[in-house]
Amino acid sequence: MTTRVEQALPPRRRDLAPILLVPLVALAALPLVGSLSTWVTLTLAGLAMGMIIFIIASGLTLVFGLMDVLNFGHGAFISIGAYTAAVLAPSLSGLIRADSLALNLIALLALIALAMAVTGVLGYAFERIIIMPVYRQHLKQILVTIGGLIVAEQIIIAVFGPVLIVLPLPTAFRGSLVFGDIAIERYRLIAVVVGLVIFAAMVLILDRTRIGLLIRAGVENGEMVEALGYHIRRLFAGVFIAGSALAGLGGVMWGFYREALTPGMGMDVMVLVFIVVVIGGLGSVGGCFIGSLLVAVVANYTGFLAPKLALGSNILLMALILLWRSRGLYPVAKR
């Protein structure tokens, strides 16, 4: 008796256009760049940079997606992650200085794990103390998390001083791999691997586990998740811890990339992070991934083709994307 209704159902279709965007931009850039080897180098470097940006931004979009909280404090966790690595690196100097990829990787993973632990714990405290009282109040959230950012940055300055701190790259990560005319920095390859692992893990968890189901359901209708018998506040705390730990991970990767840390480094990169999540669609992990790659390759191409424009390319890209889809590439349901 419901057949008429059933036939009227639209087939479920995947929204592929944003996924095609990066390859399309890359193809369009090829004739402009001219030389194939230069183009490959630019594209690979851009994709790798995009991975680093994704790692940094993923936690922010995750937290925003579920909790509807825009956390400016994310920048502080990026800095704290990087500083944790800088503090602990000397005690692993044996592993870091060794000219062995395996030992270097062990050191990197150890630093990442420790930085994530530190930022995860701090994230829990931040959620309880700073964020919990202002759920659902956007204006206050923005103000309070900015306040948290100021305080955290000042504490970093108090402890480490306002000066530059050096975080040397492990020996085997230095230099570039060269294939004919194409060169790619080794560290960028590491970043690609880390970024892909994070992305795959996030997608798998969101798609295949009960926690992931709960997060996706909570994004849509937190009240109904509670009525089904799940404590959404615990879920919030867990996701916030994960988001902060991801910021810490991003801080480590970003710190090694720059090899020099400043207390304001987290806030400095937040502008880029915001552009990426706005492009991707606030709260969307897949959109954040595509947005990161897009921003990075476009910046690379414009840097090569029109260096004067390079600094503005992010904003230009954001404006174009918003003209096409006013809520970003993958707008999250409900918002």
Binding site: R12, A227, Y230
Partner: protein
């Protein structure tokens, strides 16, 4: 606590939403193993009553007792885990999740029981057909079926269902009535349904309570209300849409 004690008892429940005083002393008993219809005109406080039972709004005075425990101040998830399933007025479907994932989440204690799932598919064949589709693309009636299926995916002591017929075509309502008859066959089921559609309520209800102005103004057996035209006129003339 005898077997005949009501499963759910509301005693002088008051609920405020912002500046508004919605429930003004609700007294309600929901007997075990029966289907109780909660009737009343728009704004009488029916939905607020269900939400207060679920802990989605907290009573400012009065008490809610469920199966011997005072759940007035409990958090919503704890109330759900005490054995109450809730189908909200807007159905609360997770549109981005598939039909399967919606049901997976509702089955708290682990994998879905295969026999029970077959029984649910028997009640609502559409769910089997669209098993792997995003719930957001279902029609209104199918969403309502999914919402009810989500509530009954595991045995619960009490089902709270808010206007299951709202916005549905008559053919689908008939389908829904059949499903509820089937649901009532399992002897242990206690159901509280908020309804505006008297035909629907009449054909299913064992007991009935009528609300007006944030209070329960009449409670008794459905048969008595169906038999008593004067009472119907007095209570439902103002409480029900006579076109139905």
């Amino acid at each position: 606590m005898s077997e005949r004690a009501p499963l759910l008892t509301l005693n002088g429940v008051n609920t405020h939403i912002g500046p508004y005083h919605i429930l003004q002393g609700v007294d309600l008993e929901v007997p075990r193993g029966a289907l109780t219809m909660l009737l009343g005109r728009n704004g009488a406080g029916k939905t607020t009553t269900l939400r207060t039972i679920m802990g989605l709004w907290h009573a400012s005075a009065g008490s809610v007792r469920f199966d011997g425990a005072d759940i007035t101040a409990w958090a919503t998830p704890d109330i759900a885990r005490a054995g109450i399933a809730y189908v909200p007025e807007n159905m609360g479907i997770f549109a981005d999740l598939t039909v399967r994932e919606n049901l997976l989440l509702a089955a708290r204690s682990g994998p879905i029981d295969a026999a029970r799932l077959r029984w649910i598919f028997g009640l609502f064949p559409a769910l089997e057909k669209f098993w792997l589709l995003a719930a957001g693309v279902l029609s209104g009636g199918q969403k309502q079926m999914l919402s009810i299926a989500r509530a009954i995916i595991e045995p619960r002591k009490l089902f709270l269902i808010d206007e299951p017929t709202k916005g549905l075509a008559p053919a689908i309502i008939a389908n829904m009535i059949a499903a509820f008859h089937e649901l009532k066959k399992s002897s242990d089921t206690t159901i509280l349904v908020v309804e505006q559609n008297f035909l629907f309520a009449k054909s299913l209800g064992d007991a009935v309570a009528v609300m007006d102005n944030g209070r329960v103004v009449h409670a008794g057996a459905m048969t008595a209300l169906v038999a008593d035209r004067d009472l119907q006129q007095r209570l439902l003339g103002l409480s029900l849409d006579r076109n139905q």
